[in-house]
């Protein structure tokens, strides 16, 4: 069986998460062994430890949008998607 093609997503971090990570955006190549989902993105970031593990720990309120639409943990992500991570919104 052939390996599935690599999935590379563009990550965007907003508000408190941007400050905590010291990073506004980056490209991330996801591990090829599992189907790419919002959860595999979060797992890859948590594995970096430090602020990543702390801010994205289970139970922390983190919202995820894929291509500008709100997404859930099991939602698929595809090559070229824009995946944004941010805290609950506080506008108005």
């Amino acid at each position: 069986m052939r390996d599935s093609p690599p999935v590379v997503v563009r990550l965007v971090f907003l508000a408190r998460l941007r400050e905590a990570f010291g990073n506004a955006d980056e490209s991330l190549q996801l591990p090829a062994e599992a189907p790419a989902t919002v959860d595999t993105v979060l797992d890859a970031l948590r594995a970096r430890g430090g602020a990543w593990a702390a801010e994205l720990a289970p139970g922390r309120a983190v919202r995820v949008a894929v291509n500008h639409a709100m997404a859930k943990p099991g939602d698929a992500v595809r090559d070229g998607d824009e995946v944004a991570l941010f805290p609950p919104v506080t506008g108005g």
Binding site: P88, V89, G91
Partner: protein, 150 residues
Amino acid sequence: MSVRIQEADFDVGAEIAALRHGDARVGAVAVFVGTVRDVNDGGAVATMTLEHYPGMTEKSLQAIVDEARQRFDVHGIRVVHRVGELAPTDQIVLVAVTSAHRGEAFDACRFVMDYLKTRAPFWKKERTPEGSRWVEARESDDTAAERWER
């Protein structure tokens, strides 16, 4: 444009006039204006910075306006939300709705604000004498939005 995000202040009278634009079907105009307070969660607020997610925020506001148009019998809806640095007494957000009668205008205006507070990607950071802090989301805002789900 029914939805705008801008750094500049807005003129409530001019926005209402543009929304009504001689529409003789309109018998009611409901307007909500959110402004910056000088105290939040017991702390003094010197200034506030509002951040958004360009691209998604516009789509999100437009989706809320579209849903309000589906739910309520209204003629026009206008949303203006400011970003950047703001100070106490500054205007933050305007929601204006026109309809034939007041009930639909009031309801649609409140619906748009309740959804905006919980769904539109904006974040507030307050500068206080003790330093800067990101504003935490309020459970009461979720409760307000959930009322419309019933």
